[in-house]
Symmetry: C2
Subunit: 431 residues, 2 copies
């Protein structure tokens, strides 16, 4: 791990310290994804079958999970895991429902009513990865807000296993959220299917969910093509921890490791105003690594990580706001007192007993969050991500009488005579 | 204008009928914009001066509007226009403020509090075009929500005039909204300056505003590069009118023309279940065209427009939802009774006395809206467009005791041992 003392760094070194691993997608990946998207767009289901045979090594006639497979999945999932998913789903639902945007109306002038109307995005596509392990938690995090938004059509794609089945836990999670249609499709081909539609898969309006570099690149390419909207740009997962002298080194080390185990490109930053804490955390990391199943992955991620000593906690928050972390853990004695200093972050975890893992699974917040600095201008997934907000205005005869002259003056100032005329005609009619 | 009878069209003809003008950016435009962006990124202000001299034909030493120029602008703008801008600003402010998202907190389990915290996007850039005419109304539509969100830094770019000054009405509008920093920069170079930053212009986190094809292409390119977020993909402005037999043909014609005068690529659709109304509107358009200053532009736009006869109004709404219009006018006898049928639109105008021009200028709603079908998954600009929503969670010792086991079960099911360990360590500490 790289230890840095912030006050001794010049501007260039500071910028380097906050630089994320280079995200350049290899030209080969870009081209492979582009070719695959074009193939699915042209040949539809036939292309999907060929690509799935090639990459997932399974021959599927249909991609859609049958009722029989859903039923079988229910019998295959450990009841304790089912209970945990149901428990998590209840809290995720409670938190997301309470934050739903409400319609409203304002009479902005006598006889002029302006409103915000809320409509679900009609057709949404959810991607649930199953790379090193299937992620039923992501099925919950995407399925629940889609259900609360009441999207007309919700389709979920998740990669097939070698035996042609889908992961049972993902299927149980999908059903918990009311997602009825699950397709056994993975990678860029799943993104292509949902973005363009095929003979059997309807075209979606917006796509959601994390994925590997192929999925991410495919989402970017379909978004650029204007075919479909996407939830947010994506990059590797990351955490920034701000810890004071009173923090528990073992807890902090465990939090850094739970980020590091995600993948070799995961980003882990620890900032403290206490050198002893930094040293203790580093020692704890070594101890805990010994017993981790994914220690190799975590070690690779940690090799690019940074422990930063700052002069003051205020400096730590300034650094964090510039870094724009996906996850921000405040391992501080009075974390709430510092919350006003958080300007930019995806999700914040307060105090010693709120590890990131709670938010990843079951506190109630969403774990699909902006990474790679996107938190500067993007927010995590919420019900609003699945909705459109439509403004509505209604002027009575009195209403246009009240505000028509204002519109005419502005239209003429902008040289838009037909705009002015559309108002004048009405004003004459109501005069 | 093209008259179509919907029930007589096959699927291909229907798709053609709703097809927008081809938006393919010429390869030459794409490359020119890319070169210009790279130049500004590398050479900063020096490049901006050269490009401004070339395209705007004015030599500017500094781009920033001075206090003296703001003061002079106040004296140059017609008091009636000033009053109209202030009146419009008051209604826009009232409507936007009433719709602001609120923070909230939910105790999702005993000792577990999940919250949504709201933070302004720190640095935003607003583009106000001044092509065929300057658009002070756009300065209001972007500046007011930025101000309500309390963004830390707000910069507005608008093209310089040949004499090196900025349009006085735009400056007065900017000041009305509290935007203090206005730069005389237009086109793709303005987008580059705000996206990358230069010696004198700070890099922005998110860019907003309409523009010509160069501005639009520049926004797309900087968004793709990951440098900055943008408000939404953009295309030519468009209106869809659904009119019944009782609609006023002169009013409908005036509304279609006020859209058509925006530009030759503007899209105009009229759908009715009454053939007589369609014929009357077409005749009215010819009459009104005679007296319009921008008749040539409007004629070009109308040549690509469509009058569609449907069997029923329900069919009209189905077509509209698939088209996803930026502006939707319901010239119906009881428009509110039909509102539930509107699933997809940017902004809706109800009844005979609510021309689109009211929303363009001063009803209170925002006129920066999704075009080109983007309304299927994007909403118009609101205060939320200038904010980030940050989730926060806090678990007490009791809290992790209540939900920790759930997180451990899910983490282990996903093979993420370090996640489980981060929770187990705490559970042991509180046991």
């Amino acid at each position: 791990m790289n230890r840095l003392q912030w006050s001794s760094l010049d501007q260039v070194a500071r910028r380097d310290a906050l630089r994320r691993p280079v995200q350049d997608v290899a030209a080969a990946t870009r081209e492979a994804v582009a070719a695959l998207l074009a193939d699915v767009r042209q040949r539809g289901d036939v292309a999907l079958r060929e690509i799935t045979a090639r990459f997932d090594q399974v021959a599927l006639e249909t991609f859609e999970v049958s009722e029989a497979e859903f039923a079988l999945a229910e019998t295959r999932v450990d009841p304790a895991l089912k209970d945990a998913m149901a428990e998590a789903a209840a809290r995720i639902t409670a938190f997301h429902r309470a934050g739903m945007t409400q319609p409203y109306a304002v009479e902005t002038a006598p006889g002029v009513v302006c409103e915000r109307m809320i409509r679900p995005i009609r057709r949404v596509g959810l991607y649930v990865p199953a790379g090193t392990a299937p992620l039923p938690s992501t099925a919950l995090m995407l399925g629940i807000p889609a259900q609360l938004a009441q999207c007309n059509e919700v389709v979920m794609c998740t990669p097939p296993r070698r035996d042609g089945s889908a992961d049972p836990a993902v299927l149980v999670a999908a059903r918990l959220t009311g997602v009825s249609r699950v397709l056994k499709l993975g990678g860029a081909q799943a993104i292509a299917a949902m973005a363009f539609g095929t003979e059997t898969i309807g075209k979606c309006d917006k796509l959601f969910g994390p994925g590997n570099s192929y999925v991410t690149e495919a989402k970017q390419q379909v978004a650029r093509s204007g075919s479909v909207a996407i939830d947010m740009p994506a990059g590797p997962s990351e955490v920034l921890v701000i810890a004071d002298a009173g923090a528990n080194a073992a807890f902090v080390a465990a939090d850094l490791l739970s980020q590091a185990e995600h993948g070799p490109d995961s980003q882990v930053l620890l900032i403290s105003d206490d050198a002893t804490l930094l040293a203790n955390v580093e020692a704890e990391i070594e101890t805990q690594l010994a017993s981790l199943s994914r220690a190799d992955t975590a070690r690779q991620a940690l090799s690019g990580s940074r422990l930063i000593l700052v002069d003051s906690l205020a400096q730590a928050f300034a650094i964090s706001n510039d870094y724009a972390p996906e996850h921000l853990i405040l391992a501080l004695r009075d974390p709430r007192a510092w919350l006003h200093q958080v300007q930019v972050a995806g999700s914040v975890f307060l105090g010693d007993f709120t590890p990131e893992a709670l938010g990843d699974y079951c506190s109630g917040t969403n774990h699909v969050l902006p990474t790679n600095g996107a938190a500067a201008a993007y927010s995590g997934v919420s019900v609003a991500s699945f909705q459109n907000f439509v403004s509505v205005q209604s002027a009575s005869r009195d209403g246009i009488g009240a505000i028509g002259a204002c519109a005419v003056t502005l239209a003429r100032a902008e040289g838009l005579d037909a705009h002015a005329n559309a108002v004048v005609l009405r004003l004459e009619a109501v005069a």
